[in-house]
Amino acid sequence: MPTAAGVEARLPIRSDMDLVWVRQHVRQAAAQLGFGLVDQTKLVTAASELARNTLVHGGGGLMEASHVTTGGADGLRLAFSDSGPGIPDLDRALSDGYTSGGGLGMGLGGARRLVHDFEVESVPGSGTTVRVTSWVTRPPRQREDV
């Protein structure tokens, strides 16, 4: 079973079956770190969106989960990376309603609203990495977008 108990993990994303493992691992890791039910659900959903992006747009890749801490707060960081074609227009990809892979266009922009910190690195032609982090005891929200 690719999801060993624990928070740290590297999971391949190559098929829709891997998406299930990604979701299960994130759920289990978030529960272990003490996330509440709603926050767990948000994280798992964000992970599902991002993993599907990795699969559909990046042609497959990897999710790395890690336990991070800051000022006494526990967090779960998830990094999704692929070596696909990259995202040519990031701003557009992050705006709602934009889609290139046949969804409702909620992928990237939607996932961003479900986590506390969100970072994308994309090099056209060589791949994309999306890093998201959520905290168990929220730091004061710096997000001004609603």
Binding site: L19, R23, Q28, T41, T45, R52, D96, L104, G110, L114
Partner: protein, 139 residues
């Protein structure tokens, strides 16, 4: 912590027929292919059997992402074309909050608290003027 987080469901989702209504119970985590398969199976069953309503019970589903959300919305729209109504029942609060945060409010979707409430809703005559529909607000 995740008691209901059962093994992934592969292949077919059982579809139960109760009179004119089809009852579909989704549970645990679904493969994308399973959800697609369900969408297809449902249309065929409706077309074959002259069903008037479909109830999709998702009380056992712990996450609905934009993919599954889209499958639900499409299934509903599809059954509508085949003159049947679809009600999605039992969505958990955490799932509903997450979907809204995600930006997916699925405005056209009929919903009910439980399968019983969904059955009752389907037993009511079809409301043509949308304003009268209880949980059928237009977007």
């Amino acid at each position: 912590m995740s008691e209901g987080f059962a093994r992934p469901v592969a292949g077919h989702v059982p579809v139960l027929r109760l009179g004119d209504v089809l009852l579909v119970t989704l549970q645990g985590d679904l493969y994308d292919s399973t959800a697609h398969q369900l969408q297809q199976d449902l249309s065929e069953t409706i077309a074959r059997n002259g069903v008037t309503g479909v109830v999709i019970d998702i009380s056992g589903v712990e996450i609905v992402d934009s993919f599954l959300g889209r499958v639900l919305a499409e299934t509903a729209a599809q059954t509508e074309l085949l003159a049947a109504r679809t009600v999605v029942a039992g969505m958990r609060p955490a799932v509903a909050i997450t979907l809204v945060e995600l930006g997916l409010t699925l405005p056209g979707l009929r919903t009910a608290l439980t399968t019983e409430a969904a059955m009752e809703l389907l037993a009511q005559p079809i409301v043509t003027s949308r304003s009268g529909g209880m949980r059928e607000e237009s977007p």
